[in-house]
């Protein structure tokens, strides 16, 4: 008899637990929306999802917390609830939340092709009103445009990046090498280094977009910026002679052992460590790597002091300009269309972007998308030099995989890896691109 009772009790307990589990969940979400429905003065909660976890992006994480704290102090009725995820997890979660229409009030997004499905699904709200307000004219030109679709801007950019070639000065000195002015010189440098047992260029092409940078620069310098962007947005074609030649040059570089061994199986992080260890002499990467070469204490000072950069050299007979860069805005902030606290969320975004500008420079060493007066700040020389280069840029071509729509971007990245691995001919490489872009999804 006791046993029976006990079993029934246990069962009842389990059922209560299950019911309670459901209950708290629904309570939480409903109370959340009630709070956020509020008129001004009432308690407001803004959900903010971002991708700067403390472990991976310590600098950015600190700044985010500072800004949030300051904002909450100024607006005592506002609570900002953070959800922090790693890059890849963040992208996946964003998609899952979109499918069930439960986006956070404020979140992080990428530009152009990444943005498009979200805008088409009416999930992000236009933030043009913010651009004409306090932030008017504060953005570096070309940054907000990357977040605009059909004349409306859907997110405010936080960072802006260009990709230089970093090089190890002490290795260059050791082998009496000069910064290359032409592509031929670059090839000669690669040859010298490789003959001396030093890997010329660190490249982690498992990540694919890393190889894309090299192709983009070659395409830019040989065929010119206009031809390249034309091909990417579908007005031109990748079968253009100059672009074909760029693809051929990629394979020439591979053949001359210009890249670190096994690059197609190495991740960007692994390749980077080859450069950081002084085993590879050059490394092309976005300016988001700057902190590693300037202020990051985990990397020996001796190494940081020996890092310089150069612009991708001119190709003789090519149409490109040496001041033309490959780059683009990093991430930006969006406000969810279905947010119950849209006005408050927008106010927070405006505040965040303004604050981010200065703090990101000094605190994290990243280049912000807003104009910042750096003259009064004490900054590493490498940082200032690149900052100035960016202001003198004649054109900036957005990273191809960011610019293209998701499916075409995937084809592009796969083809890049195949091209570097010599699994496709330049002709096939170009044809596949045109096919994917014309399908337009």
């Amino acid at each position: 008899m006791f046993k029976k009772k006990g079993l029934m009790l246990l069962l009842a307990f389990c059922l209560v637990l299950v019911a309670a589990g459901c209950g708290t969940n629904s309570n939480e979400s409903s109370s959340g929306s009630k709070e956020t429905a509020g008129e001004s003065g009432e308690q407001v909660t803004i959900n903010f999802m971002h991708l700067w976890p403390e472990g991976v992006s310590a600098g950015q994480n600190k700044i985010v917390n500072q800004i949030i704290k300051a904002y909450q102090d100024e607006h005592t009725n506002v609570t900002i609830k953070q959800e922090v995820l790693d890059n890849e997890q963040y992208k996946n979660k964003l998609k899952v939340l979109s499918a069930s229409n439960k986006l956070p009030d404020v979140g992080v997004t990428w530009a152009a092709g990444f943005l498009q499905p979200y805008v088409e699904g009416k999930l992000f709200t236009p933030v043009d009103d913010l651009l004409s307000g306090e932030l008017n004219g504060k953005f570096v030109s070309g940054t907000t445009e990357a977040y605009a679709i059909d004349g409306k801007t859907y997110a405010l950019p936080l960072e802006f990046n260009i990709a230089p070639v970093y090089y190890n000065k002490s290795l260059f000195e050791k082998y009496k090498l000069e910064i290359p002015q032409t592509y031929e010189e670059l090839k000669a440098i690669a040859k010298t280094l490789s003959e001396n047992g030093i890997a010329p260029i660190a490249l982690g092409n498992k990540d694919r977009w890393t190889g894309s940078l090299w192709y983009m620069y070659l395409a830019d310098r040989i065929a010119g910026q206009q031809t390249l962007s034309g091909a990417i947005n579908g007005e031109g074609a990748f079968t253009d002679e100059g672009l074909l030649q760029a693809a051929t040059e990629v394979q020439t570089l591979v053949d001359s052992n210009a890249f670190v061994k096994g690059f197609n199986g190495l991740s960007n992080e692994e390749a980077k460590s080859e450069f950081l260890n002084g085993k590879a002499a050059m490394y092309m990467m976005g300016t988001w790597e700057l902190p590693n070469f300037t202020t990051n204490e985990d990397i020996p000072k001796e190494f940081r002091d020996s890092v310089g950069f150069f612009k991708f050299p001119k190709v003789e007979g090519g149409k490109g300009d040496i001041n033309s860069w490959v780059g683009g805005p990093g991430v930006g902030l969006f406000v969810s269309e279905n947010s119950a606290v849209k006005a408050e969320a927008k106010a927070f975004v405006e505040y965040f972007v303004t604050q981010w500008g200065e703090q990101a420079v000094t605190g994290a060493g990243v280049i912000p998308a807003t104009k910042v007066d750096t003259s009064s700040m004490e900054l590493p020389q490498l940082y200032i030099d690149l900052f100035n280069e960016m202001n003198q840029a004649s054109s900036i071509t957005l990273f191809a995989d960011v610019q293209m729509q998701a499916s075409a971007a995937e084809t592009h990245l796969n083809m890049i890896q195949a091209l570097f691995g010599k699994a496709v001919t330049p002709e096939k490489f170009s044809e596949e691109h045109d096919k994917a872009i014309s399908e337009g999804k």
Binding site: K4, Y118, R208, G265, Q417
Partner: protein
């Protein structure tokens, strides 16, 4: 107690929660996946019903068939390696010195997370600093391959850690099954003059046959839907040389924003797994199980 368990209403009450759970987290998603496969959908906006287009496209998709072939290869390798595991288990189950220790050593990879294993093997396979290539170089191979970057090698380079990862699991299953055989049978056979090989072949093998059948299904189906180590170590690359069905599904759904197509791959994968399980069951079916008592 007996009364409680014979009351049909009570039984239903007990079963219902787990039945509902299974329905909600297994069967309904399967039906939904099949349905998504009938749509063109980027995962965010509206779905467009396209009928069987995605499923038909699968049959013409070269990358899909390549990845299916890679999955099949992995399944065959896993299946064959079971024999090796069985031999190891037999040796361990025989009273050898240090069997306890070895059993634990074999089980360790099973306890590590896949990502940790992937990182470990990435270090081993590193083209210049890796342990493997350092050993090869010191043995006089001037230019050892970059294992994970060569299209022709990458798949087999991946199979080794995968088989290594699961070795302990299968060895443990076999070990437990072998230990279940009454010692009296072996002793009787030995008295009758059977040698170790005969005992293994004629007594132990038939008695663990049922377990072997289960492990074959586990290994083959597990291989067909294998994902994690490959995803971390190569992400299906270089240029698709190590793409398997599950990683291709992930890439189509989450990278190329083609949830409809991704779902179609997922559903097809399920169908293949069910079919393979059925075939293995048919092939290994025996009318009566052998029992010595």
């Amino acid at each position: 107690m007996d009364k409680v368990l014979s009351n049909k209403k009570i039984i239903a009450l007990y079963v219902l929660p787990s039945l509902l759970l299974i329905l909600a987290i297994v069967y309904i998603p399967i039906v939904l996946t099949a349905y998504y496969g009938l749509n063109e959908w980027n995962g965010i906006g509206a779905m467009t019903f396209v009928g069987l287009d995605n499923y038909l496209a699968l049959f013409k998709d070269e990358t899909f068939w390549n990845s299916a072939w890679h999955s099949l290869l992995l399944a065959v390798f896993s299946g064959m390696s079971l024999l090796l595991y069985l031999i190891v288990a037999m040796v361990l189950a025989a009273r050898i010195k240090g069997a306890q220790l070895f059993r634990k050593i074999y089980l360790i990879p099973m306890l590590l997370s896949s990502v940790a294993i992937a990182q470990l093997w990435l270090k081993i396979y590193h083209p210049t600093n890796g342990v493997l290539n350092s050993i090869l170089e010191s043995l006089g191979f001037a230019n050892p391959p970059a294992w994970l970057a060569e299209s022709s090698l990458v798949l087999f380079a991946l199979f080794i850690p995968i088989l290594w990862q699961y070795a302990g699991f299968y060895i443990l299953i076999y070990y437990a099954a072998l230990k279940n055989i009454p010692a009296s049978l072996e002793e009787a056979a030995r008295i009758d003059g059977a040698n170790a090989l005969q005992i293994a072949w004629k007594i132990k093998l038939p008695l663990v046959m049922e377990v072997i059948k289960v492990t074959i299904v586990l290994a083959v189906v597990g291989s067909l839907k294998y994902f994690d180590l490959i995803f971390v170590m190569t992400d299906g690359g270089p240029n698709g040389a190590s793409e398997v069905m599950a990683s291709y599904m992930y890439h189509e759904a989450f990278r190329a924003y083609d949830f409809g197509y991704g779902s179609a791959i997922g559903f097809f994968l399920l169908v293949i797994c069910l079919a393979v399980t059925w075939v293995i069951r048919k092939l290994t079916a025996s009318k009566d199980t052998i029992q010595y008592s």
